[in-house]
Amino acid sequence: MAKKKFKGRPVLSGKLEGKALVSKQPFNLTGSYLKNMFAGETEAAPCTDNTNKDLHEKDLKGAIICTPQTVGSTMGAGTVMMCSELGVQPQAWLFSSHIDSISAGGLIMDDVWNGKRVVTIDLLGDEFLEAVKTGDPIAIHEDGTVEVG
């Protein structure tokens, strides 16, 4: 497939390559990591949000998650930090919309305080989410450019 480029804003910059895991609906932060948060699962991060048809039961650990934004509990920053501590955090968050304060707070605190960075790009636009499919090759650049395909 032909490569498509999208320009986003690097909230937490980084360069990496991998494959996309796409949720067309906003990602429920705490609701998706119940097994990690409540059962102490560390081998995988099976998505526990059964309202999310795209991701339910798929492995979020090490994924490049493409979604409009995150939603859910205002304690979600704690979930973000605990995911890193358990070693089940994604490699990257790619948001089509503006990042929300829940994930922004958690991701920035974890990056600065604990030195645990999850590459985060937002404002990629609706067209990004329309184009990207789960399994598509993704290349993320330091300047916030994301290549799909």
């Binding site: 991060a45 059964n50 939603v71 859910g72 205002t74 920035i108 960075r117 999850v118 399994g135």
Partner: protein, 532 residues
């Protein structure tokens, strides 16, 4: 799947998560989590499904729903997006946003450069990055006192609690003594049974760590714990125009609106980091522009509206936009918010903040911004929403009965979310005891939990000792815990069929909502009136 099948809530998710008889998450922690440097994709099969090696406790399966989960009543995505700061960024473009950099003073730059220690430098870096992300122009000095929503001592909050503990060990402290949300349990009067206590001590195993952190960072004793920090007995009510960094959706909503303070809706952790620096990035609700209203809400009900219901309507309509509300001035004598009427705004506002993410509303002729600027607060292309009798009834019709046994009798009444004011405690005491006397009864048919700060309870005892004694004998219990957290306990809906007058609690739990006059009848008879 139905929304709110078991529970949903900003506060509820962490609360319920804390009440689990599971191996401690901390026991399973692998400390060497991957960093960005190591984060090179493996291309592993992510399309397939995985189960992991551990089993999700059955009671946690329904805890995924939460406030603003992006789903409608039919369980389908609504497409609604929000920043949850109380400031929409719907039209922001990447190229423009990434150029944005806050201006720092020399003093702030020195802190960032580490001149006042490594910990403060890290805090400043977090604030600057957070501020840049949301388009802040600068940092502003905070006044008044902070309010924190860090009240859940659950194991999964351990990483954040550890960060705060490290700050305390470094000698950092809030710029002023601060108030904190109520604890999520009360083993004296509410969960004073063996089963609940066991769950509490296992589930909230980090509560001591959290309370210890608060004590060192500057929170006073636990008598001050409440979500309604602005009540006169608690005294955290900064002057209009004061910049603060509050967390707790209902407190932020009341503070911005009724007090006229300036705070964004902060998530857990960010409130205390800002308190330790005494500074906050200025954006959104902390700016004149960000306090302008996008919606004109015309309340045209034929009699006094149901405040929780119209709050729910406004929250659903505005999401995180700001409403300018008309038609309510007549319920506030002289346009003044007083200790005797603030509960009306508290009920309406907390509903807007829980059914949506409203961080500020203006009430024409009543709230400080509206009294000063009037309809100049409306943006040019504002939208209008009319709430009349028909619309109010339509909203009530969407309040589902979520009890597993829908036709059974209620078992408990929950009053005070957000926490009751002194006026409300006395009002409810008189309403219930007078109704009992009229019915020739000594006891309420179901236990009544009145959620209120200890400071309010103590004042009520001092000034209305006889009434309080009668209330206690009738089965009315004053508690300073968080009622919504109780509604999130494991197995709650199997044990308790709750009724409430709080639209916020209804929004987050299986409790059924009734107006005050119906609730009194239910408390006296133990029955839901036909047609209610």
């Amino acid at each position: 799947m139905k929304r709110r099948e078991f529970c949903k809530g900003v506060a509820l998710v962490p609360a319920t998560g804390a009440l689990l008889s599971i191996p401690r998450v901390a026991d399973a922690v692998t400390p060497d989590a991957a960093t960005a440097d190591k984060a090179v994709a493996t291309g592993s099969s992510q399309a397939g499904k995985v189960a992991g090696s551990k089993t999700l406790p059955g009671y946690a399966e329904n805890f995924l729903t939460s406030d603003m989960d992006g789903l409608g009543p039919d369980g389908k995505p609504t497409g609604i997006k929000a920043t949850f700061t109380g400031a929409s960024k719907a039209n922001t473009k990447a190229e423009q946003a990434m150029k944005h950099k806050m201006k720092l003073t020399k003093e702030e730059q020195a802190i960032l450069d580490g001149k006042e220690g490594e910990e403060k430098a890290k805090l400043m870096k977090i604030l600057v990055q957070f501020g840049n992300t949301f388009g802040a122009e600068k940092l502003v000095d905070l006044g008044g006192a902070p309010h924190s929503n860090m009240f859940i001592g659950a194991p999964y909050m351990a990483s954040m609690i550890r960060m705060l503990d490290e700050c305390a060990k470094a000698g950092l402290k809030s710029y002023a003594p601060y108030t904190v949300n109520p604890r999520p349990y009360d083993v004296y009067k509410v969960q004073n049974n063996a089963k609940d206590m066991e769950m509490i001590y296992e589930g909230y195993s980090s509560q001591w760590d959290l309370d210890y952190v608060h004590a060192r960072l500057g929170a006073p004793d636990l008598n001050y714990r409440t979500c309604a920090c602005y009540l006169e007995e608690v005294g955290n009510a900064p002057e209009p125009g004061t910049y603060v960094a509050w967390a707790e959706s209902s407190a932020v909503n009341y503070g911005n609106s009724a007090l006229g303070i300036r705070t964004n809706r902060n998530g857990a952790g960010m409130d205390l980091l800002q308190a330790m620096l005494g500074k906050a990035p200025q954006f959104g609700l902390m700016t004149d522009e960000g306090r302008k209203a996008n919606w004109l809400i015309e309340v045209k009900t034929s009699k006094e509206p149901d405040w929780g219901v119209i709050g729910t309507a406004i929250g659903r309509k505005c999401v995180e936009d700001i409403p300018y509300i008309t038609g309510l001035e007549k319920y506030f004598e002289g346009g003044k918010v007083t200790a005797d009427n603030l509960h009306l705004l508290k009920a309406m506002g907390s509903a807007t903040a829980s059914s949506g993410a409203v961080g500020l509303y203006h009430v024409e002729g009543v709230t400080p911004d509206a009294r000063e600027k009037g309809r100049d607060l409306l943006v040019e292309d504002y939208q209008t929403y009319v709430i009349d009798d028909k619309e109010q009834a339509q909203i009530i019709s969407t309040f589902e009965n979520l009890w597993p046994d829908k036709d059974a009798d209620p078992t408990a009444a929950f009053i005070g979310c957000p926490h009751n004011s002194y006026h409300e405690v006395i009002k409810w005491g008189k309403l219930v005891t007078e109704a009992l006397d009229k019915a020739g009864k000594e006891d309420a048919a179901i236990p009544v939990y009145l959620f209120t700060p200890n400071l309010v309870r103590d004042r009520a005892i001092e000034e209305h000792g006889e009434l309080i004694s009668r209330m206690k004998r009738a089965g009315m219990h004053a508690t300073n815990m968080c009622g919504v957290s109780y509604a999130g306990m494991k197995g709650f809906s199997e044990r308790v069929r709750g009724v409430t007058n709080s639209a916020k609690t209804r929004n987050y739990s299986t409790l059924r909502y009734f107006p005050d006059e119906i609730l009194v009848k239910i408390i006296v008879t133990g029955k839901i009136p036909r047609g209610a």
